[in-house]
């Protein structure tokens, strides 16, 4: 039972997830910094993730794909925006073409902070989206390419 809470703001288009683990902060940090560990939890069950490129440094990129149960791959990319070891990590997460080239459309941004108390670590991830359409994109990785381009036009809708 480590799920503490989730805070959803449909106007601001943010999702905050707070979890807590019985492990020191360094250990939880490795879940993000080590691609082999990241692969073991990033993809939903049945959709294992494989990170191919993983430049863990500010401005560095990562590419990954999830293997779909029905065959085929859904590609994504990351950019490490900020890395403050064991306390804060900011990552842009977007949809990619086959091979990992970023697809058209804005990425979402995940800001994760890590706080340790008495050997337990609280992990807080805030996901910021630009539009409902963008959320749909990220959720539906592997959907028709053409629609994604069209959907990105809604970006400004709720931002104004």
């Amino acid at each position: 039972m480590t799920f503490i809470e989730s805070i959803k703001d449909a106007d601001a288009l943010t999702l905050t997830i707070v979890t807590e683990y019985e492990a020191p902060r360094e250990r939880i940090w490795q879940l993000w910094s080590d691609p082999r560990q990241l692969e073991r939890w990033w993809g939903p069950p049945g959709y294992p993730a494989t990170f191919e490129v993983f430049e863990f440094e500010p401005g560095g990129r990562a590419t990954y794909y999830m293997t779909l149960p029905e065959g085929g791959k859904a590609w994504g990319w990351w950019r490490f925006v900020e890395i403050d070891p064991t306390s804060r990590l900011v990552v842009d997460d977007g949809f990619a073409e086959e091979g990992g080239t970023p697809a058209p459309g804005e990425p979402g941004r995940m800001t994760t902070t890590f706080e340790e108390r008495d050997g337990r670590t609280r992990m807080t991830t805030v996901s910021q989206f630009d539009s409902p359409a963008q959320m749909a994109d990220l959720l539906a990785m592997g959907q028709e390419q053409g629609m994604i381009e069209a959907l990105t036009q809604v970006d400004a809708l709720l931002a104004a």
């Binding site: 288009l13 991830t125 709720l158």
Partner: protein
């Protein structure tokens, strides 16, 4: 399988809803900056067409035309109130956003479970990469 596959199925259903909702018209309607601005404003409250027209550097007729495009796409509704025509945004957009946030929460709950079992595994085998001592 089961849960994970179901969650993804649900995600696809939400996307299908978007796809079914006369997508072409919606995106054509939103391809214009003034129209996007009208939608954003009318989601936050009611505005008469004339009040909207005062905000933009264009004729009343031009604004009325924009509103008509948005109305055809189902993004706003226009109702008569006395002599005025009042434009309101369709809160469906917000509802859709809330639904999508629910799907994301579901994904994170599954990630949390995966992390739990990962940590449980290293509590058992004590991998070389962890700092020991703090674990109970």
């Amino acid at each position: 399988m089961g849960g994970g596959a179901r969650a993804v199925m649900c995600n696809r259903m939400v996307v299908d809803e978007l796809a079914d909702a006369a997508v072409d018209r919606i995106f054509q309607a939103l391809a214009d900056a003034t129209r996007r601005d009208i939608v954003a404003r009318s989601l936050r409250g009611e505005h008469s067409v004339s009040a909207l027209a005062r905000r933009y550097d264009m004729s009343f007729a031009a604004v009325q035309k924009h509103v008509a495009v948005l109305e055809r796409a189902g993004l706003v509704h226009k109702t008569a109130r006395g002599r005025e025509r009042v434009v309101t945004g369709d809160p469906e957009t917000i509802r859709r956003a809330a639904e999508l946030l629910d799907r994301f929460e579901e994904i994170w709950r599954r990630r949390d479970l995966a992390i739990d079992s990962l940590l449980a595994a290293d509590a058992g085998t004590q991998t070389a990469t962890t700092e020991e001592g703090n674990r109970r």
